[in-house]
């Protein structure tokens, strides 16, 4: 199952190769979806296909190196029945999770979404909805 984690770095950690170390130790492919980081710290959002046990291992490895981890538990849905394919959402999407098919239909690759919600506001027919699973 693909899950998404937010890695919160403080300023002391940004220069250490923590992400690489965790990948090496677990052998899991942590795919970086979005990164916003500078010398003051920041956030990296990764996706990973892993079991619950493996996820817990990843979280504890980051935690032991001072990186706070939160799991993203949002779900975004594009209602194709309602979508008019205007594309207002596309240029706002930071990870190209929303894209045009060759037929100029808007489609969503949920696995890339980082739930920034900009598209939800931008959709004039409210075809995009965000919900949270607890």
């Amino acid at each position: 199952m693909i899950r998404k984690l937010v890695l919160n770095y403080d300023s002391a950690r940004v220069s250490e190769p923590i992400l690489a170390t965790v990948i090496k130790e677990t052998g899991l492919l942590l795919n970086v979806l979005h990164a916003k980081i500078n010398s003051q710290g920041g956030q990296i959002i990764v996706s990973v296909d892993a079991t619950e046990e493996q996820i817990q291992k990843v979280i504890s490895l980051f935690a032991s190196r001072g990186v706070r981890v939160e799991e993203l538990r949002d779900v975004i849905v594009l209602n194709r029945e309602s979508c008019i394919d205007c594309g207002a959402c596309l240029s706002l999407c930071p990870t190209q999770a929303l894209y045009f098919t060759p037929e100029m239909k808007v489609e969503l690759r949920e696995e890339r979404c980082v739930y920034c919600k900009l598209c939800v506001q931008a959709c004039p027919v409210r075809a995009l909805t965000l919900s949270r699973v607890e």
Binding site: I84, D85, C86, G87, A88, C89, L90, S91, L92, F100, E103, M104, K105, L118, Q121, A122, P124, V125, R126
Partner: protein, 499 residues
Amino acid sequence: MPKTIDEINERIKKGEAVVLTAEEMVEFVKSKGPEAAAKEVDVVTTGTFGAMCSSGAFLNFGHSDPPIKLGGGEVYLNDVPAYAGLAAVDVYIGATAMSRSRGMEYGGGHVIEDLVRGKEIELVGRAYGTDCYPRTEIRTTFTLHDLNQAILCNPRNSYQTYVAATNSTDQTLYTYMGILLPNFGNVTFAGTGCLSPLTRDPAYRTIGTGTHIFLGGGDGDVVGEGTQHFPAKQRGTLMVAGDLKQMKPEFLRGGTITRYGCTLFVGIGIPIPVLDEKIAMDAGRGNEEIFIDLVDYGVPRRERPVLRRVSYAELFSGKIVLGDREVPVSPLSSLRLAREIALTLKRWIEKGEFLLTEPVRRLPLDTSVRPMKQVEPVLKVKHIMTRKLVTIGPDETLETAAKLIKQHGVDHLPVVEEGRLVGIVTSWDLAVSIGTGKKRIAEIMTKEVITARDEEPVEVVIRRLEQHKISGVPVVDERGSLVGMVTTDDISKAFGRRR
């Protein structure tokens, strides 16, 4: 040998007409040239589907018993106000009217879509009562079927070309061109390029009053030029009308442009008879030949700066180069639905179900868009700003700041270093720094100062103050030097004087 519309209609009736969509025509003219196109092609079909705020519908409810004169009274449809300044039971529901209870999330455009979907609409009306119309209140429901007439009548639709928008400021803007990210973070544009009807007939030789069109999935007509029709800028517009009862919800959709307002997405398709080589040439121009202005919506004035000209081909590629980087682009009109409209119209004509019309009156070629006549002078920052400034340096102490604030009765101290504005300190900043051990102004000042310019209208600055939840802004010149200060106090005094 030029053709006539009658000849083309004869071929349509016999099922012999050669019909191409605008995109097919572009390919045809590219490969075989306009001369062959004029000879071989009879009709080019176009399509557009976008937010068209100047839209609405006339509805006639029929008379109640006892009768009510809604004309001159108040009418709400699903709690959206409709214009009732007409006869007893006629109203006009405009696309941008907003629900009293749901605000921008539901408006006149949504009422029109719900009507076309066959949904029940709630009517609430209030009247003053007359001898012939004694009733003063009515509450009922109706569907599109129950109405005598429902006529979509849109005063400005189908812009020939529009603009592309971007945002130079460091704030996200919510505009009618959609959400514009800070620092040129994205570009949006409207229009469907070569599929857009008026781009195919820029001299308005075949499109005019009486032209039979596809409107919202049914039949419609061009009434004449639309409001703000501006041929010299390739920004012609159309006023269109059609029977709402024939229309389909996939081609007529209510919409909300977040923090801007309600609108109606309208699907329009217009057939262009290929009468001669000149029309074939115009109808065959590709997206790389149609240019529009890329405009900076960061400037909230009537004349917004144009950054450069950009072609529809570039815009449809999904990215454009701006300065030294690629910026993602969003269309706001639906190319997929525009294509479907052009194709639907093509099928109708091929099957002989849709005939072309000769315009009974041509669209004007000489109108332009003039600005609003304003009789009251616009209040500008320079008229109300304080020029006698109390400032402080970044290395001075908090005690000095407290003394200055008390002595001069001000709340804001611009922080100035070598004549340049480097920060701002307010009495609030001082209050919350008590007990923190901070001593120098530089430690507590806000470094990213929101500023104003002396030529800006005060209304623009009021909005800026509200958005940033601040009570004053330093006024700077083009070099960033401090020239004044405007606070909410100055503004309330100025408006108080005017009233």
